[in-house]
Point group: C2
Chain length 891, copies 2
């Protein structure tokens, strides 16, 4: 098995990444010392009443709940003894205090005694200074101070009048010095005064507020350089936009150095306007710390990282050593299954993130689909041989044509035993070269070599769950070493009728009409008139009266349909395959007319399909669809097109009394049968209005190079085939599984014959003399980290779907695995419990109106001696297999 | 002392109000059982990438941090074992788990084992159902389930596909039943289908998703009646607008019954569309529980209160018994000192709350200022006698005229020894009656009797820190029993010159010009030309280019000034007082022209004041102001009017070489001297634009009756006087203190002479033979709850302010308090530490450029034998006095 499936669960049992942050307090002489002052400025009534602020009522006016502040601050302080907080408004604190349990009160008293929680200012409110009478100031301060004294035995030492709109002399000398305060801090000051003080570094003064008492009632006064909030970029309330420190090296966007640099820059800026090396940052502002942890978590990190530069280096080294690697592919694929991802309703930058995650796991030839494959190009241009390893994850042998881009026509292909393999050179169209050139630069930042001319196509044969190797070499001869094939372009043809196909299937095109006209398969005797066309829908811009909105990420709401004369597509017919492969290239969709467009293709026959079609459910069951009809309720048809669209993951088919037309897709698309005999697929969408369902972004994907952007071009494939009625399922199931699990290619170079001689060049995971029944697929085969192998077998057919294959199937595990099997346990689908246990726990429902239970075909228990697994139609069975030989390597 | 100052600290040492909520789980058959399901739907990538969502980066796109969710949920679960939470997306949980300490991991494992934390669905993501291939669904689910199994040994039992945009058959039977799930829940469904199911109560179904496996792979499926969020009004994320349960009976807005009713109504509504009595509420939605406590706190309360109806009754009883009472006055006043309150930048509904808080402490005659006093009116109309108790909080004896409204002219006033007191009957103007009628109905909801005709004015004499009682009786005689005084109205006068004043001060008015013209005091030989006028400023609407904004709550930004011809005002001169009292009534300010206006008054003399004026700092020091000048920086004058306005709490004065003009105010106003010889006060403002500094509301106060609103009318007083140069301070200090501390009136009724004979009818807190020096005031005298008395003495004069009084003053505590003093401790200003201790701790600052220290006069230490307290100019000293007799009542 390939290494990529080993260590599948690196995170599950992985080592702890817990970081203990060092946040101990210390002063370093001669350096700038930044003192973080965590605080919440809780107005005792402003936009809401004092009680509304306390309990968090009337939040439509302002989201603020002081109870949250105090609850969460106390909790955060109790978690880490290095954390500190100041609290100011006793009117709020007293409300909170009254509601606490004795046990919590005792803990809070310890926080106050240890200095973690300090009362500052300490009046009931942070009184105004312009308008109250001094006796009222004294009274309200006394009330608060008495509470602090009575409950905590503490005496506030700092005046903290950060928000009042101006400052009175009485505040400084009477409500400051005479309270025993050492210092007074505030933020608001005349803008002209502040400008002068910033310039002259006189933000810190000793204030003598009284002519009569002069120096005997003076107080150190600190004016904040700006407001009483943190420097820009250091606010960490829930929902604040400052970048958090991301120091988990296993996540993306690690930014410790960047944030440390930001911190240092902000500290230097402040040190430039203050007199000493000690500067204060007010870490908080109005009604902040509603969830205190959001602040303390970040401050912990800043203290930790700013104090220890060496450690940062370790981290950077660590990141390189243990950063994202290919083992993360499984995780990436799991994340991408999220419903906002596969459905396309994620934002574009999130889509880019998904793509990045996937690319990390599959780096070899990221843009092979558009003919860009650096390893193959580099090796061959140096005159060396290229080894191509083709891996087949399916449980049956496959013969397929693979293609790689080459720059020369002088290449030969040999299999691992040295036999020459027939190969073809297919000219690469200018359209493809143009995409290759643009997209490689846009997405990889690399200019691809200009010399690629051909697709080298050759047939490979790969054993089940195994791989084969092929060697591609340049030859020193004049003229091409392989057949150069033609591409028929309808415009260039001399005849009106063009017949394509060297095997039993022929497609007939009309050059004059520029389209497919007939389909004929001499093997199953199907002939039919078939047309394939393209059209586009204009997307609704949502400006009309209807409660529905614009066509967008969530909504398909077409206005009108227009035919498209031609699209860039290549139709291929392979000798051994009785289906047509259509490779389409669509884009950029023009939107110069400010109208969004959605591109669809139609395959049209004369079949009388009676409004009925079938679409797959997650690539598994096919569900019958009736146009303009729902089983569960009487449908009111408001959207005759969109209301009949269904998701297509595997395929879609229609049938009449004699034949069935099937289409398979290489990706999830929308599809329908809007007219009898016709199948339609939606292939590409470019829209100019947000549909207001939440993504808040227009579905207008662009690709940019040097700040110039153009609409996204996409390339993909679908496949179609016509079978006699009742015979289409075989193709849909087998080919569908192959499309979902294409051969995986890996590349390496070799000098001479070294590689091929020193490596296993062909291998199958199963007994070469055994083959799985045609109606069964191995859908999972993975070695878990404990050496146990996870096997999932799936019956591919539904009851009644195929006369030969919709029957009980048997798999012989002893032949599937030539190694000695020690033990087999049947598990639930996700392998987290034994199946028998699961069945025991299953709730039995009495279902109203369900009548008698029909017969269900399921496989029986697995005999531990014979180890034969039976599977009924659509059954999937999951096993953990313990191989005896693996034990030898254990203790 | 009056009872209102006893129990001053009811909250400080009050009993605990901690409520232990009963949230134990129970099922009650036959009732509706509401199952709260706390959850957070955490999209694994949508508007942000998965890592950005996890660490809370890129919050400008969407405030969401899953780390917060998990941190705070775990913390909340650990706090209370009855709390539960489900978690779904293992991609996030795994990131979080990796970063936790071993200790916390152990605790979380316990939470999972006990069922407090349950993994639901349990794939890496909540996969889409429309577009992925079934093998990918199995793989991503397996990855998550393996993690849960490996780390916690747990097996998810519930499918939870609440957000995907549609649902596939494969999900139901394969990713549901075959995983061993008992049930599957989701929210999204075609709107037509949902409507039918709501109607037919078929939201709950047993789904057989597979034709082939039919009943052997069925699953119970619950479709939510609406979305996956809680019923309206039950969302409790930080900043959510749902009303929290307010169950603290000491706060306002207690709403337990109301919220319980809401809960029951929402439960009934849901029970109407579900099949059984068991209904589920999804308590959460996208990225919620960023601070889990905000949810659990409310859910705890709902569980507690909805389950125990009897307890609610207790609470309502409790509220009546221990609800807000008059003891809360001190708290209310403290809260009102908050800088957004006194400065007027609070919102109007907050101002109403402040007013309510204050009114609770002072209920007797809330609208006495506009002649509405129900106790006096009721008693006298019944023919009984009314006892008026006048309390003097100052340390000196006061002789003042008090006024109460009466409906008859046949009343007499006697003092407590039965001596008749001279009284006057002053006609109540129609303007006052109109305000009285409107405001009593608007603010109290009461229609006042229509019979009030006069102010009964009489002189009272009240001892220092004490009270006197007066008895008002109706007499059975014809014709008035007291002198009915005239009110001069300038329009009615026959002569041009009107002289007002029966004492030494005379004011001369010109009836022709309609204004004051001269001021003459024969006692201090001051005569002067004086005019008093009104004007209004038009407020800037902020639409010009200037960075400054509209005139509003924070900003005074006048455009133009216009004179006002007449205002409703009464000017009074009392025989014993050498000052003029101006009572003004202003409003509603007309704004029909859509222009906000600000009303000011000017007192204008010919004094040459050289751009200089003096304003008080918090009613204490007077600060010298120079027009268009700042001491600390070179002022650039951008706002020639607003830039020269200062807060006036006590008063403002100007002086020239021979005299000084002083104005005292009864409330905080803005004031200035914009022209030499002139003093200006801003009295009322009504503006139509928000100044965008935060309050988000227009300063346009209105008073509404039956949904009809008119602009606020205000009534107030200011006082002015002219003294020879150097002699104004005495008046400003003494009268200023009296204005700040007016006599407090309380009322009771008596039949015959009962009350006066059975009560102490006159009392002084100090030795009647002792009087405080004229330059000292008792600013605080309060009995603390431990029986200790808090005393504050304030020297009222600044150094050099008055030739007689700006000297060291002495207070003999033994004579001030006739009781035996056990111990006197001098304290810091807020009495939370001994003064000597405070001085020891005081930091000593070396002040740059401060030169030699000038002499400061302060009182020396208090000799414990003589107990004489000395006070230097502006000194305030605070003492705790322990009286011997109080000890006798102790243990």
């Amino acid at each position: 098995m390939l290494p990529s499936s080993i260590d599948y669960w690196p995170l599950g049992g992985g080592e702890s990444e817990y970081i203990e942050y060092n946040t101990t307090h210390r002063i370093v002489p001669g350096k700038i010392n930044v003192h973080l002052v965590p605080h919440s400025h809780d107005d005792v009534g402003w936009l809401k009443t004092v009680d509304q602020y306390y309990v968090g009522a009337n939040n439509s006016i302002r989201g603020a709940c002081v109870q949250n502040v105090l609850d969460s601050v106390i909790s955060a302080l109790l978690e880490d003894k290095n954390r500190k907080f100041i609290y100011v408004e006793i009117a709020f604190f007293q409300r909170w205090w009254r509601q606490q349990s004795k046990a919590l009160k005792a803990k809070v008293k310890e926080l106050v005694n240890s200095g973690q929680l300090e009362f500052i200012n300490g009046g009931m409110s942070m009184h105004d200074e312009a308008t109250p009478h001094y006796v009222d100031l004294i009274d309200q301060t006394t009330l608060g101070h008495q509470f602090i004294k009575n409950e905590f035995g503490q005496i506030p030492r700092v005046g903290w009048q950060i928000d009042p709109f101006g400052h009175s002399a009485v505040q400084a000398y009477l409500l400051g010095a005479e309270l025993g305060f050492d210092s007074l801090f505030f933020a608001r000051i005349d803008y002209q005064d502040r400008a002068k003080r910033l310039k002259e570094k006189t933000l810190e003064v000793v204030w003598q507020g009284s002519r009569s008492l002069s120096w005997s009632s003076q107080i150190f006064t600190g004016i904040f350089p700006r407001h009483y909030d943190p420097p820009d970029g250091f606010t960490f309330e829930i929902n604040d936009a400052s970048p958090p420190i991301q120091d988990d090296i296993l996540l993306f966007d690690y930014n410790v150095q960047e944030r440390v640099n930001d911190f240092v820059a902000a500290a230097l800026a402040q040190a430039n306007v203050t007199r000493t090396n000690h500067i204060m940052w007010c870490m908080g502002t109005d009604f902040r710390y509603q969830y205190a942890n959001s602040w303390f978590r970040q401050m912990d990190k800043f203290i930790h990282y700013v104090n220890q530069a060496a450690r940062q280096l370790e981290f950077f080294i660590g990141r390189n050593a243990s950063g994202p690697n290919t083992d993360a592919l499984a995780d990436a694929l799991a994340i991408v299954q999220h419903h906002d991802a596969v459905s396309g309703t994620e934002r574009e930058h999130v889509a880019a993130d998904y793509a990045l995650r996937i690319s990390i796991g599959y780096q070899e030839c990221p843009l092979l689909n558009i003919s860009y494959c650096p390893p193959s190009e580099a090796v061959l241009s140096d005159g060396k041989s290229l080894v191509v390893v083709a891996y087949n994850p399916l449980g049956w042998k496959r013969e397929e044509v693979i293609r790689i881009p080459v720059s020369t026509d002088r290449v030969t292909v040999r299999d691992s035993s040295g036999r020459k393999v027939e190969a073809q050179l297919l000219p690469i169209t200018n359209a493809t070269l143009s995409i290759r050139n643009y997209y490689a630069r846009a997405y990889l930042g690399k200019s691809p070599s200009e010399t690629i001319k051909y697709w080298l196509a050759f047939s490979v044969s790969v054993p089940p769950i195994g791989f084969s190797s092929y060697i591609i070499s340049t030859v020193k001869q004049t003229g091409p070493s392989s057949t150069i094939s033609s591409i028929y372009t309808l415009e260039e043809s001399a005849d009106d009728t063009i017949e394509v196909g060297k095997g039993s299937l022929k497609l007939i095109f009309s050059a004059r009409e520029g389209k497919l006209t007939h389909y004929a398969n001499r093997k199953n005797l199907v002939t039919a008139s078939v047309e394939q066309s393209y059209s586009y829908y204009t997307g609704s811009d949502g400006t009309d009266e209807d409660p529905q909105v614009a066509s967008g990420a969530y909504i398909f709401r077409p206005n009108e349909t227009f035919p498209i004369k031609s699209e860039s597509q290549i139709t291929r017919v392979f000798k051994e395959k009785d289906h047509a492969e259509v490779e389409f290239t669509i884009g950029p969709i023009p939107v110069d007319d400010d109208i969004g467009k959605e591109i669809a293709t139609q395959i049209t026959t004369a079949m009388k399909t009676n409004g009925t079609f079938y679409t797959d459910s997650n690539g598994r069951d096919f569900i019958k669809r009736l146009r303009d009809f729902r089983t569960d309720w009487e449908l009111q048809v408001n959207q005759p097109i969109a209301g009949n669209y269904y998701p297509i993951n595997l395929g879609i088919y229609v049938q009449d009394t004699s034949s069935e037309l099937s289409v398979l897709v290489d990706r999830s698309v929308g599809g329908s049968s809007l007219n009898d005999g016709q199948i339609e697929l939606m292939l590409h969408r470019r829209l100019l209005h947000d549909d207001k369902k939440g993504v808040g972004e227009v579905l207008n994907e662009t690709v940019c190079l040097h700040d110039k952007c153009e609409g996204l071009t996409i390339q993909g494939k679908f496949y179609f085939r016509i079978d006699p009625l009742g015979e289409g399922a075989k193709w849909r199931r087998t080919t569908g599984q192959e499309i979902y699990s294409p051969l995986l290619l890996a590349f390496t170079e070799q000098d001479g014959n070294e590689w091929i001689n020193s490596h296993v060049s062909t291998f199958s995971g199963i007994d070469p003399s055994y083959t799985l029944p045609n109606n069964v697929a191995v859908i999972t085969l993975q070695e878990l980290e404990n050496g146990i192998v996870l096997l999932r077998l799936a019956h591919l057919y539904e009851t009644g779907e195929d006369k030969d294959y919709s029957v009980l199937a048997s798999v012989e595990l002893k032949r599937l695995f030539p190694k000695k099997i020690n033990k087999v346990r049947e598990m639930s689908l996700s392998a987290n419990q034994e199946k028998a246990e699961m069945e025991k726990r299953r709730l039995v429902w009495e279902v109203e109106g369900s009548g008698e239970r029909s017969e269900v075909v399921r496989g029986g228990p697995v005999d531990p001696q014979t180890l034969v697994v039976e599977l009924g139609p659509m059954e999937i069975r999951t096993f953990l297999i313990d191989f005896a030989f693996l034990r030898l390597f254990g203790s």
